[in-house]
Symmetry: C2
Subunit: 221 residues, 2 copies
């Protein structure tokens, strides 16, 4: 950001930074392979590290704990979401802005900018791994609410509100996060029903949002 050269220029960034990036990516990659193959609990940090020919100590210099390496790609997607949300035009209302931002994230993933060419299917497998691993699920949920806090701040900024006084930004961020999560769950539960990849995911989110009103209404019959 601070450097005038573009991020894609290999000369702009020193060998040191490139190397760090490489080993980090290699660690994430090896971890995913091992987690999906043998399960999260049965995979040792030593195994991940030695797969990349790196000491265990080095692993913990890149990731604070074992969960973080599993959730790394998700964290990048969440950061991208925040960027997109900040960049949405000011005339959109909060809900429109969030829908637009989440659409941009999935489009970026489809373009293969999210770590590897087949990030779509990989994302699905990752969701299943997280949902079926209590430790990962817990860590993921904790990150999600942190994400909600920052989303709420962005929304409050856009609308010129004080988030400490007005609870609506926080509330809407939380509800939005819930809807997205439930969509991921439905999607992972039956991927074949929405094979059109990310189109299906967006459509699901829309449908869930449409049900929000009826769900809050008095009676369901």
């Amino acid at each position: 950001m601070a450097t005038p050269t573009t991020a894609a220029d290999p000369q702009s960034v020193g060998l040191r930074e490139r190397k760090k990036r490489r080993t980090r990516d290699a660690l994430v990659d090896a971890a995913h392979r091992l987690f999906l193959c043998h399960g999260y609990g049965r995979t040792t940090v030593d195994e991940i590290a030695s797969e990349v020919e790196v000491s265990q100590r080095t692993f913990f210099r890149y990731f604070a704990n074992k969960e973080e390496v599993a959730l790394a790609v998700l964290a990048e997607a969440e950061a991208a979401f925040l960027e997109f949300l900040r960049a949405r035009p000011a005339e959109e209302n909060p809900l429109e802005a969030m829908r637009g931002a989440v659409r941009e994230v999935w489009q970026a993933v489809d373009r293969g900018q999210g770590g590897g060419p087949d990030s779509g299917p990989a994302a699905l497998e990752l969701f299943e791994l997280i949902e079926s691993t209590p430790t990962l699920l817990a860590a993921h949920l904790r990150h999600s609410i942190q994400q909600e806090v920052e989303v709420a701040r962005i929304l409050a900024d856009r609308e010129g509100l004080d988030p400490a006084v007005d609870l609506r930004p926080r509330l809407l961020a939380a509800v939005f996060g819930t809807v997205v999560r439930l969509s991921h769950l439905s999607y992972a539960a039956d991927p074949d029903a929405h094979r059109h990849s990310m189109d299906g995911m967006l459509a699901l989110i829309e449908r869930h949002f449409d049900q929000l009103g009826p769900a809050l209404a008095g009676s369901w019959r």
Copy 2:
């Protein structure tokens, strides 16, 4: 439940069961004291165990992990909520039923049935401990999600719906959980503003629910 004698009768339950109950309660009690005094991370399981004069191994026979002993009282409250919700009259709509159930939980806590006489202030301290301890927060959120699943099942049963098809129960359960959590946060952030104890908590939840509609509406200005 299965025995005809009342649960309060000390003779109905053997010495064995009573002893187990005692050590379990003692462990929870000691753990809370130490956590609140020295912090969660700086408290060792060995310390908790030796405080009750019990081996570390025994501790792990009562609680699957260190988090569980911290969240034990919360787990009881959540179980009570499910019971109350199941017992709500059938003519109430989902939202009314949940509001009624949460009210009953707080009333029970006020009556001191939730582990000790001053469960109210203790509950507040516990919330703060959880929110300020990443590990505990993660575990708590995971439990909350599980709670939402069971709440959704109860709601679907009440309304005669199939939760696998109709997403509204799950959605409403999640939104409700979010509202309750945000209420706890607001409450813990400034307890003096709602000193009327549990009255204040219920009023907070009501206010948050009232803001749900406006938060979902298009524009906030």
